[in-house]
């Protein structure tokens, strides 16, 4: 039952579209995969934009998060509450970073299944392809099997020259590097460095195991991501010599929210100091949103009294 739904909704449409597009592109399956990648990335664009902005906002929040950990490290429940409060106040969804990848996973699996069918990799699977073809599209019957050659690649098998694993790993590293913040904290730096290498190495390994057509999707998708990150986050991010790029476009909204959260915290600190509980007011946090990042700001966790604070009406409005 699940298999039938999968075939009906995802696999069969993908197979037929890939075949028709290949036919329109002189039986070039590689170009067809590139077109598919662009379509998928276009459809998931809203999620990607959310991810990019969320990632950038989370980068800005890292120093504050470090302070929260320092402050409530022994009280995990309290720490979690404060972190979630911070996320909520800043309009950041931590899980949002993973959503575009999760959405694309079924596409990867369906693309893999499509490749082994339309390229006649295995006779049994190729024979089953006939059941996926749309009778209303007569041209698809004659176009298969598709031509598996694209540039130096046989799209049905892993790249024997190992160029594709390098391309997949390299583009993924670049993409990761662009969103990895530079920080003065050596512990965070070590953590970021580890994360920077794990994903590219894992995907390079997967590229050596699976058909090149799937890896071609990953490379094109990575290049699109790099381009989007460049134009949306306003530069090369972690690749540039500056610590952080100037915010661009709608990013300002998220940064404004962070600023709001900080202001709230500061206001709350003032209130608390009136009753002799200036918790965390002595913490100096380097502001990484500025180039050079030397100017210290104060951050005060604990925002429970926000709603009843008298300065609420003076806060900047959301854009």
């Amino acid at each position: 039952m699940v298999g039938e739904i999968w075939d009906l909704i995802i696999l069969s449409p993908m197979i037929n579209v890939l075949i028709v597009v290949s036919g329109a592109l002189f039986n070039n399956f590689g170009l067809s995969i590139i077109i598919l990648t662009i379509i998928v990335r276009g459809v998931t664009l809203p999620l990607t934009l959310r991810q990019l902005r969320s990632t950038k906002a989370m980068q800005e929040m890292q120093p504050k998060m470090a302070e929260l950990q320092k402050k409530f490290g022994k009280d995990k429940q309290k720490l979690a509450q404060e972190q979630m409060r911070m996320y909520k106040e800043s309009g950041v969804n931590p899980a949002g970073c993973l959503l575009p990848m999760l959405v694309q996973m079924p596409i990867w699996i369906a693309l893999f299944q499509s490749i082994i069918r339309v390229l006649a990799v295995v006779p049994e699977d190729f024979l089953k392809l006939s059941g996926h073809l749309y009778t209303a599209w007569p041209q698809v019957f004659s176009l298969v099997p598709l031509n598996s050659h694209f540039l130096w690649l046989d799209l049905a098998i892993p790249d024997r020259y190992l160029l594709l694993p390098i391309l997949v790993g390299g583009t993924m590293w670049l993409q990761q590097k662009m969103v990895t913040p530079k920080t003065g904290d050596p512990r965070q730096q070590a953590q970021s460095t580890m994360m920077l290498w794990i994903m590219p190495l894992m995907f390079a390994f997967l590229t050596m195991q699976f058909p090149s057509g799937l890896a071609l999707y990953w490379v094109v998708s990575n290049v699109i991501s790099i381009g989007m990150q460049y134009f949306i986050t306003g530069g090369w991010g972690g690749l540039s010599s500056q610590a952080a790029a100037k915010p661009a476009g709608r990013d300002k909204r998220y940064l404004t929210r962070i600023t709001m959260a900080e202001e709230k915290a500061a206001d709350y600190a003032d209130t608390e100091s009136d009753i002799g509980a200036d918790v965390g007011a002595d913490i100096a946090v380097p502001d990484t949103t500025q180039a050079g990042g030397a100017a210290p700001t104060r951050y005060q966790p604990g925002l429970r009294a926000m709603k009843r604070h008298p300065k609420k009406s003076k806060r900047p409005k959301r854009r």
Binding site: Q69, G73, L98, M101, L102, M105, P106, W108, I109, F112, Q113, I116, A120, V121, V122, P123, E124, D125, L127, S130, G131, L133, T135, P138, F141, S142, V144, P145, R187, A190, Q191, M194, M195, I198, M199, M202, L206, Q209, F210, L214
Partner: protein, 376 residues
């Protein structure tokens, strides 16, 4: 805290990648998908049955006693590997039905090799190529005169000396060859993924004529009464003049023609993967009957006991006739059937996708016996 943060993120990434790898790798590890298993049919010679098992073995069975004539001959190759599927040796998938002479049994492997085995003892006589291998071979071999022929996924049709395995000539088509050649007199017919049917001179492999369709040609041609019948992926069954390849008629179904057609009493029976068998007049291609079998017809039909026996993908076996028009279900094996059918003395032999060999009475549909070929 630092360690916990790193471990948490690494675990999260690992879980994501595991989900991906599992989704990608599982199809390649499942027997039914991504891994070639084979669908060798049965060749009946006197009292002996020869076929390739899904464990990569050439099996010879006495059809009366159901005892092995000699120990199964195992063909192995180095495992190509795949994520999570391990390494080492693996059985060679065998798609072609063996060709048998009194001296040798010929069988092709998906590992790109052709083997000749002594018919009496099962001892390996020769292998082609002797070193390395050609691209995967899906079609079966055909013996005619002193030559044996087969086509490969490299698009080449090979003619070898049947006794020694020496290469005599090679004809190169424009794309993969997955079909089994048909030989009639001095002419060999073979279809290719390049959408053409070729007629070759068996003496030297020179082209006599070629006929281009609009789709790949996998179906093994049928030569009958100066006419070549062949199905194509363009959904047409073609009837061609054997002498010059000119078109006599063509007939359209709703999906590919994969299986070899069958001729009986002036009627051509052509099974399509659209789940129907089309009965057409041999001379003009006029429709006599269309039998809806509700499941793709992948395996070639056979004539047994005066009846046309057809098996469908879902495992149901039918007996068909046009006069009177009749579709009689014989038996449901409840297992996929890809292998071409074979028959002898009113008994139909079917090799199912779960690697079981069935002997079925062509009249009643009773399963006379079944034999699991899977090695222990």
């Amino acid at each position: 805290m630092l360690k916990k943060g790193i471990i948490g993120k690494v675990l999260l990434l690992a879980v994501l990648l595991m989900v991906l790898a599992t989704g990608l790798a599982l199809p390649t590890c499942r027997p039914a998908e991504g891994i070639p298993r084979g669908w060798s049919g049965v060749t009946v010679i006197d009292d002996a049955l020869f076929l390739g098992s899904m464990d990569g073995e050439l099996v010879a069975i006495d059809k009366t006693t159901r005892q092995r004539l000699w120990p199964d001959v195992l063909f192995k190759q180095k495992k190509s590997g795949g994520f999570g599927c391990g390494q080492g040796d693996q059985a060679v998938a065998i798609y072609g039905t063996p060709a048998v002479t009194p001296e040798l049994v010929y069988i092709t492997g998906y590992n790109g090799k052709m083997y000749a085995v002594n018919t009496e003892t099962g001892a390996l006589r020769w292998v082609y190529p002797r070193e390395d291998e050609v691209d995967p071979i899906v079609g079966g071999p055909v013996v005619a005169g002193d030559k044996v022929y087969f086509g490969g996924s490299d698009g080449k049709l090979y003619a070898l000396d049947a006794a020694t395995g020496d290469e005599l000539w090679v004809f190169e088509s424009g794309d993969k060859i997955w079909g089994t050649p048909a030989v009639n007199g001095e002419t060999l017919y073979i279809g290719s993924f390049d959408k053409k049917l070729y007629a070759l001179n068996v003496a030297d492999g020179s082209s006599k004529w070629q006929f281009e369709t609009e789709g790949a040609v996998v179906s093994t041609p049928l030569v009958c009464d100066d006419t070549v019948y062949v199905g194509s992926f363009d959904r047409y069954l073609y009837a061609l003049n054997e002498a010059d390849g000119s078109l006599r008629w063509k007939y359209q179904a709703d999906n590919w023609f994969w299986a070899r057609p069958l001729a009986d009493n002036g009627i051509i029976y052509a099974g399509s993967v659209d789940g129907t068998v089309h009965a057409l007049t041999a001379d003009k291609g006029e429709k006599v009957a269309v039998f809806d079998l509700e499941s793709p017809v992948n395996s070639s039909p056979v004539l047994a006991g005066g009846n046309v026996i057809v098996a469908v993908d879902a495992g149901q076996v039918y007996s068909l006739s046009v006069n009177p028009r009749q579709k009689k279900p014989l038996v449901n094996l409840e297992e996929e059937i890809y292998a071409p059918l074979a028959a002898s003395d009113g008994v139909v032999y079917i090799h199912s996708a779960d690697d079981v060999l069935y002997a079925i009475d062509a009249q009643s549909g009773a399963i006379l016996w079944s034999l699991e070929l899977e090695s222990e």
